[in-house]
């Protein structure tokens, strides 16, 4: 009995100690330098005039946006402590944090919001984000009313850090070209949780906590060092030997699987829905056999998606069946999955009039997109299509501009590609399917696809503020595109976050990965 009591007391004590330890481990603490990494050098650190994930990583720390997003795609207060949308959807009012200041101590005012929107409208690469904005009223220093020509639900996602930044009018309003403004990369006066200390292109960006940040106690980290290491294998080794704590946007399947086994390392594919990257096989529907939807469907039936997901992507990628990323609340997975069916593929090709002659029906070219890691898919597709008599010639393009030129001028039959949704379909999806955007350079409607109903659906959805109705419109759009297949959707790009055990609250709980503020990320002892 005595032993029993003793054991009970000991067990209770151990449990209590462990619980306290676990709590201590989970309680954020201030201090420390987080070392993260980027695969390339950002051209510009100011997200108001440049998009992209490396600009997003740094820009989202230096500049604040009105909103941030949780993992459920719900907007959360950020620089705007609250917001209202008028019943007619034509006015969005932002109520700004009252104690928010720029890094030079100047207060962040509603006029800065109006100024930032004006600059973004003029200089940001994605015109659709703020195109319907007609004016911004500033009734007082902390209220900005965005007036719209028509309801524009995409505005909410466009107000996240990856796509919008509040920049100081007293710095960027000096008459110099905002795109090449000297303060974009040096002596940056931002509005975010971290200040720029040093940017050495090709080497690193160093940022330190901004003590005047409006939210008390944040950011937790003293410093963020974002190193620039282009080689993914070198990045992985640097993570494993502890030189780096966190790496995001990693998408090489072999490295992802290797890191799963690495000691002290965590791997997650959460938090990339907003970026929304999809690998796909683009088909030029304006020439040759690909003009016939049955040929395109036959190609889909001849490709074994399971082989791609399991063997080529090694189980690291999610399936994607439409042009909207599977993590998006607007995704419609209830469409034809085009399971491998060689007989059906052959039948469709016969029906389209491309009879087998010997062991071949017709020749076609496939551009090898010059992104790292895309060769295996390309090789597999060539092999898979040969089984139904489609003779594929792979054209290797030496670099991105050569490939972009071919795509932008529709001088191709098929190409693998990787395209991002950028949050709302209006920003990153419509561009691929709208008939008004045919052949307007790379990542436009380079397939030459045109369907009046699709144009109508996308136009209606762009202005529909009722989320359920909007979802239904996009569901129909996805159904049509999945049937007509100007694009065969392969998989979501397997973007992953690698982070060491030391990282508390890693950026995997939102939708923008590190293209969102890391004010709540902290380092454990």
């Amino acid at each position: 009995m005595k032993h029993l009591v003793k054991d009970f007391l000991r067990a209770t004590a151990i449990t209590a100690i462990m619980a306290t330890g676990a709590m201590a481990q989970d309680t954020p603490k201030s201090g420390g330098t987080l070392v993260t990494v980027m695969g390339s050098t950002p051209r510009v650190l100011n997200p108001a005039v440049q998009s992209g994930i490396v600009t997003g990583l740094v820009g989202s720390q230096l500049f604040a946006a009105p909103l941030r997003y949780d993992e459920g795609w719900n907007p959360q207060p950020y620089l705007a402590k609250s917001w209202d949308v008028s019943d007619d959807g034509l006015h969005v009012t932002l109520h700004l944090q009252e104690n928010a200041t720029f890094h030079d101590g100047e207060p962040i005012k509603s006029s800065d919001v109006a100024f930032s929107i004006k600059i973004i409208q003029e200089f940001h690469p994605f015109k659709s984000m703020f195109a319907p904005v007609t004016s911004v009223d500033t009734p007082d220093e902390h209220t900005a009313i965005i007036n719209l020509a028509h309801p524009h639900p995409a505005l909410m996602l466009a107000m996240s850090g990856q796509l919008m930044s509040i920049i100081p009018e007293h710095i960027y309003g000096d008459g110099q070209d905002p795109k090449n403004h000297p303060r974009n990369n040096e002596n940056v006066v931002g509005s975010g949780p971290f200040k720029l200390v040093e940017f050495v292109p090709g080497e690193h960006v160093i940022m330190e906590r901004y003590d005047g940040y409006w939210e008390q106690g944040l950011p937790y980290l003293d410093k963020i060092v974002a190193r620039i290491i282009p080689d993914s294998a070198a990045r992985a080794i640097a993570l494993e030997n502890g030189e780096i704590h966190l790496s995001t946007f990693e998408n090489q399947p072999t490295i992802v699987n290797r890191m799963r086994d690495a000691k002290g390392m965590n791997v997650s594919n959460d938090g990339y829905g907003g970026i929304g990257p999809i690998d796909w096989l683009a088909m030029n529907v304006t020439r040759g056999p690909l003009q016939d939807a049955r040929v395109r469907q036959a190609i889909a039936y001849a490709i074994d998606k399971n082989f791609i997901l399991k063997a080529v992507m090694r189980g690291t990628a999610k399936d994607a069946l439409t042009g909207i990323h599977p993590d998006s609340p607007l995704y419609n997975g209830d469409v034809n999955a085009y399971q491998l069916d060689v007989d059906k593929a052959n039948a469709l090709l016969d029906e389209a009039g491309y009879k087998m002659s010997g062991d071949k029906r017709f020749d076609i070219t496939l551009e090898l997109v010059p992104f790292p890691g895309y060769k295996p898919q390309t090789e597999y597709i060539k092999q898979a299509l040969s089984k139904v008599g489609i003779n594929v010639t792979i054209n290797a393009t030496p670099d991105f501009p050569s490939w972009a030129k071919k795509m932008g001028t529709m001088d191709f039959d098929m190409s693998l590609d990787s395209v991002y949704n950028w949050g709302d379909p209006v920003i990153g999806v419509n561009r691929t399917y709208m008939s008004s955007n045919i052949a307007k350079g790379v990542w436009s409607n380079t397939q030459g696809y045109s369907n009046a109903r699709v144009d109508e659906l996308l136009a209606q959805a762009a202005e529909e503020n009722d989320q359920a109705k909007r979802k239904a419109l996009y569901a129909e759009f996805q159904q049509i595109v999945n049937e007509e297949l100007p694009i065969y959707f392969l998989n979501a790009v397997p973007m992953h976050t690698f982070y060491s055990d030391k990282v508390g609250n890693p950026p995997i709980t939102g939708i923008w990965s590190t293209s969102s503020p890391m004010d709540k990320v902290w380092l454990k002892d």
Binding site: T41, S51, I237
Partner: protein, 325 residues
């Protein structure tokens, strides 16, 4: 006087060569489909057509080829290498920022390869059929045949991942705090693996050449005379024979300079060494014409300087060259 004339002629040819490098490369870059604006679009995850067109007009990329070429050459003649559209910086600033890292890497690798190469060559020349000689031959050929990026990754796995002696990438650890010597040691630690990778290719060349010329020299009459005079073996080898055997090695070093610079492109990419090599690699991929031309200009300049230095050093070590003027 003759020496000065040689130098002046060389310099004249150097200027012609530099201009030819610029015109030829500008033309080649222009012939390739697409341009830097496509790469800017890539870095932004796409962009509206009107935005891209505006950028093209702003950068003068919509103008006819000859107008663009003329404007570029005009700028270069007034010592302005232009503006990098991709990096948003003047090309000269960009190159000067990266130059020290490459100079450090290239010179350190050359010197290391030469010293170890010559020492190994001499050792193996003294006993050409000994175990050591065979080992040196194997080692040298292995280094020469292995692709430099592969050697680099192997070194990374061995010395950064497994035994963690050296850092993986970059030239310095920005989180290190301390005085000059702390930073000096930090750079030195970062330098080891890239230098060893780069030196591994050239080590083979130097050791093989040093071995061959040393064997030839050791068999010559004056060495036999020195030995007959009763001079100690060590003195004969290192004082008399080595000086003569060095001349071809130095010539080769000069000739190899361009190869070292191009080898640096690969090594810098693997180790994220912030030098001209990574800049060149990224600028080529980005089709950033002014930056690529600026780098070619600089690397041509470095090769010319390397060759001139070779001439100069040869004259220092070989009295016969001095006699020729």
């Amino acid at each position: 006087m003759d020496f000065m004339r040689v130098i002046t002629t060389r310099l004249f040819y150097a200027v012609i060569l530099l201009l030819a490098v610029l015109v030829l490369n500008f033309t080649l870059m222009h012939l390739a489909p697409g341009d830097v604006v496509d790469t800017i679009a890539q870095s932004m995850g796409g962009a509206d057509a009107e935005v891209l067109e505006k950028i093209r007009i702003e950068y003068g990329l919509d103008k006819p080829f000859l107008v663009q070429l003329g404007a570029y050459i005009g700028r270069v003649l007034s010592f302005d290498l232009g503006y990098s559209f991709y990096y948003n910086l003047p090309v000269t600033d960009l190159i000067l920022q990266r130059l020290p890292a490459t100079v450090l890497l290239v010179f350190a690798a050359q010197i290391l390869a030469m010293i170890i190469g010559v020492v190994l060559g001499v050792i193996s020349a003294r006993r050409p059929n000994g175990i050591l000689s065979n080992f040196v031959t194997f080692f040298a050929l292995f280094g020469y045949s292995a692709p430099v990026f592969w050697t680099g990754i192997l070194l990374l796995i061995a010395f950064s991942l497994n035994i963690q002696w050296f850092p993986v990438a970059g030239m310095r650890d920005v989180t290190v705090e301390g005085g000059f010597w702390i930073h000096f040691i930090d750079v030195l630690r970062h330098l080891v693996l890239p230098v060893v990778s780069l030196a591994s290719i050239f080590l083979a060349l130097y050791s093989r050449l040093a071995r061959a010329t040393m064997m030839e020299t050791l068999g010559s009459d004056y060495v036999r005379t020195a030995k007959a005079k009763g001079l100690p073996d060590r003195q004969v080898v290192y004082k008399h024979a080595l000086k003569n055997a060095l001349a071809p090695v130095i010539t080769l070093a000069g000739l190899q300079f361009s190869a070292v610079v191009s080898g640096a492109v690969l090594v810098e990419t693997v180790f994220a060494w912030p030098g001209l090599g990574t800049l060149a690699f990224q600028s080529i991929l980005a089709r950033d014409t002014p930056t690529i031309l600026g780098i070619l200009f600089f690397s041509a300049l470095m090769v010319i300087i390397g060759n001139l230095l070779t001439d100069f050093v040869l004259r220092l070590v070989d009295p016969r060259m001095r006699a020729r003027g």
